[in-house]
Symmetry: C2
DNA sequence: ACCTGAACACCGTTCAAGT
DNA sequence: ACCTGAACACCGTTCAAGT
């Protein structure tokens, strides 16, 4: 029984298997684990290095800098997502595609926030874009419109997920708005009549209901908004 | 002449006018100045304090923490923006309102990024919301739709501005996409046929053209998407 | 009440030196 | 080529002590 369960004894090679040789994949893996357990704030070079039993400097062989690291995490998360839908009408498929993407980002709001600025790259993201274009094309959306629509759709989903971020617990954002609305109502019922009147309505609905409605707005808008080559000159 | 121009002598009350008494307004002012000259990255407690000839700890009397500080900066920026439009049709006014808001955020993409998560508060933001609701109401948009639409519109503008952020120079984002598209074309012309075919189209247009089109999509969508009270139960 | 210096617990990144 | 320790130049926040 010597020190078989002796926690204080230094870890032998047997117990900690040879200290994995440090690959980019391994680094990203550790990063994703930390992200899922402790949030993006803890995903630092130093912390990842510590989990890998090395110094932060060692990571710079595999990732250029922190931004690069984050972009790669995003790619990895997309890879872990559900497979893309193949059944249903083009519109059902489109909604499913965007909802699936949204689900990943809603589960990792900090990543969503990041995605606002760091463009995703990698095969999984491109397959998603490809599928969206395919659905739009099947829906009879003209190529020029579809080309711009992908961006609008994906950005909207990302923004939606990013909004539900923040360091606080679930309903904090809405609560802040509610408190605020109340304060406004007290301060000046006359200055902001519309806000006072629609205050409750503005806070109504679940996240999912609003998300779905937003998608409908976008798709309906896309179906009703031609892209004039550049019609800003004439009246 | 004693030490009238003696740089090494400690600054007297006359030369540095009494060291402004440290108000919240003064703090935010310095923060905005640093933001405009050196970017959000330099807007740190320590740096602001240094510009104010004090220690970082002193700021905590006036701002709760860094997030609070940032939210107040945003409010200040909104206050510096152009006055809200009062002329034109409801739709023209709506577009003008959103374009004006967008302009502020496009000039400060880092703030836009921040706005994705930190909800703006303050009189200027509310006046904007109020005006949007007013325009939508005049446009015959039903109250429940208008209430949700404000959010979608503002979030979309914010997201649009945030996208053009990033630490790099102007066209970096698109360039990355282009490089990427090229890589895809080489790697697998067969796996992503739609992307390859629409690659150029996806990168076409100026930021303003895309922004305006996006607004049209949204408004058209809003005009064509009713809000069923909660119709997800029935088929 | 407001202000301050010093301390605590962190960061990213670089570099010379090792293997 | 890969890895490392140490160093550089920073952070936010707290706290006891001053005024």
């Amino acid at each position: 029984m010597e020190h078989e369960n002796d926690i204080t004894a230094p870890l032998s090679r047997r117990e900690r298997p040879a200290k994995t040789p440090l690959t980019r994949e391994g680094i990203i893996d550790v990063a994703v684990t930390i992200l899922e357990n402790e949030g993006l704030g803890k995903v630092t070079m130093r912390r990842i290095a510590a989990d890998l039993d090395t110094g932060a400097a060692s990571l710079y062989v595999y990732v250029r800098n922190t931004e690069d690291l984050h972009a790669r995490i995003l790619d990895a998360l997309l890879g872990r997502a559900a497979p893309l839908p193949r059944a249903g009408s083009w519109r059902e498929r489109l909604v499913a595609l965007l909802t699936g993407y949204g689900t990943v980002l809603f589960e990792h709001p900090e990543i969503a926030r990041m995605t606002m600025t760091t463009h995703p790259v990698g095969p999984h993201y491109f397959r998603l874009v490809e599928s969206i274009l395919e659905a739009l094309s099947e829906g009879g959306v003209p190529d020029p419109v579809a080309a711009w629509a992908v961006d609008v759709l994906l950005a909207s989903v990302t923004a939606s997920a990013a909004e539900h971020s923040g360091p606080s617990t679930t309903g904090e954002g809405s609560e802040a708005l509610a408190v605020l609305a109340a304060r406004i109502a007290i301060t000046s019922g006359e200055t902001y009549p519309h806000i006072v009147r629609l205050g409750d309505e503005m806070l109504s609905g679940t996240g999912m209901e609003r998300f779905t409605w937003g998608l409908d707005v976008l798709i309906n808008g896309i179906l009703n908004t031609p892209r004039t080559p550049s019609a800003s000159a004439s009246s």
